[in-house]
Amino acid sequence: MQRSAFQIFFQTGAWTVIAFLVLPLLVVLPISFTDTSYIGLPKEGLSLQHYVNYFTDPKWLGATWTSVWIGVVVATCATVLGTAFAIGCWFLSDRASSIARWVLITPILVPPVVQSLGFYRFWVVLGLIDTHVGVILAHTLLALPYVSISVFAALTNLDRNIPRAARSLGASVMQTVWAVVVPAAKPGIATGFIFAFIVSFDEIVGVLFITVRRVSTLPKMIWEGIQDNIDPTIAAVATVLVVITLVATAIGVMRKK
């Protein structure tokens, strides 16, 4: 088929933009193999020294582990709370529950620095500064909107007559929720869990405000590394994370097919 200039413009344009979107993610790869001790392209040959540094430095490993386990705890808390919330709102579907849903998504709209100031002052009062509990609580709040949105989206396709049938056959509200609504919401719950984990795993501004020295997460280590501006270990860490993301996305695309 003959393609018009119009189509050629949009098609090449789209691929150019996608290249702009994806290629910068890959620049960390060559940098991570540099044989220099500063951030730059390899000079004489490739070197694994920065990977060795990442995988042997207790500070980097400790921060990675902290981010992972905090992420899992946050994802679990946010998924349980957010799923119950979204299911309750779905049943109610009235004005009050709609307002409740708006309240729950405020963390998406409030600028990160502003909410972090709020956290800082309140956490000082509660004695949660520089504690893991403090970080988990803050991250759970930031993750809740994403769980609530994705579970609610999954429920929009559920026929309201099905839980009604369960109720009229004698199931209690909790039995209906557990046996009928939760299974229907499963895809949304899974998405919500992943979102919540990522929100916590990547969160930086809150952590900068509410932690000092005792708690160190991976983003905080990266942030401090960029400020010092010398250590190519960041590139190795970034490469590991980008490769994990690429593999996960590839698996996701394959499974859809």
Partner: protein
């Protein structure tokens, strides 16, 4: 069973999440308002100081300018991608969608770091251009607004593409076909028939990108190198360097109000419910 009991049990599902959000989030954010009016002393002194400061004015202008340019850039680039994905079906379409979503999963911190590596004084772009003999002295691509804008557009682009994509996928091809069969050129059919139908998606994307950009901290702070002080960074300076909680909080209140105003104005053009609450 009486109906009222049923409602109570649904509210019991809603209550835990709502309660911790109100107690540990809404209350602390409202606490910022209190600080703005009470520290160091009760009154509106912080707001007077804020209104009188040229640095604050400059920072607000930079913030709105960066947010506006980022939004426009994301809309133009994003529109092209969304259009191609939803109108030219091919075996590459799923790949394109996956590549659009991919950057979402890579943290903003790492994406900003990548841009530092690319745009720095002896970054990859400058080194390549110098190696090719195109420039003698390195270009200043970072620690200025150019660098911030490039990285901001990169970070925000998926937020613009996804709502437009959702919108365009719901548009029937019949209207453009009808226009074409009535003699309209491809361009005319696009401009007069297709484009107006995509406005809801464009508006949702614009709102999302603009609101997120207004309060953005990480990318401007890293790529701006202290020279592109957007409000969020200005606030952290006031608090971390000068321990000036009063002014920092007053600025936070101003930023919150600015965000709320943008949402209020946007509500006239955008269905906020579908743009924010029922986002997919």
């Amino acid at each position: 069973m009486p109906r009222i009991n049923e409602k109570v049990s649904y509210w019991m599902l809603v209550a835990p999440a709502l309660a911790i959000m109100v107690i540990f989030y809404i209350v602390p954010v409202l606490g910022i308002w209190k600080i703005a009016f009470t520290e160091p002393e009760t009154g509106v002194a912080n707001f007077v100081a804020m209104a009188g400061s040229n640095a604050v004015k400059t920072s607000f202008i930079i913030t709105f300018r960066v947010a506006a340019i980022t939004t426009i850039g994301c809309l133009i680039l994003g529109y092209i991608v969304a259009y191609a994905i939803s109108n030219f079906a091919s075996k590459f379409t799923p790949l394109m969608v996956a590549l659009v979503i991919l950057p979402f999963w890579v943290s903003v911190l790492i994406r900003s770091f990548s841009w530092i590596v690319l745009l720095g004084r002896s970054g990859i772009v400058n080194d390549t251009l110098k190696g090719a003999g195109l420039i003698d002295a390195p270009l200043r691509l970072m620690h200025n607004e150019t660098g911030v804008l490039i990285a901001m557009i990169h970070v925000m682009l998926p937020f613009a593409i996804l709502p437009m994509l959702t919108n365009m996928r719901g548009i029937s091809g019949a209207y453009v076909q009808a226009a074409r069969s009535l003699g309209a050129s491809e361009w005319t059919a696009f401009r007069q028939v297709y484009f107006p139908q995509t406005m809801p998606g464009v508006m949702s994307g614009a709102l999302l990108v603009f609101v997120l950009s207004l309060g953005f901290f990480v990318t401007p702070a890293l790529l701006g190198g202290g020279r592109v002080l957007m409000i969020s960074e200005y606030i952290t300076y006031q608090i971390q360097e000068f321990l000036n909680w009063g002014l920092g909080s007053a600025l936070s209140v101003a930023l919150l109000i600015a965000t709320a105003l943008v949402l209020l104005i946007a509500a006239r053009f955008v269905n906020l419910r579908s743009a924010l609450l029922e986002r997919k």
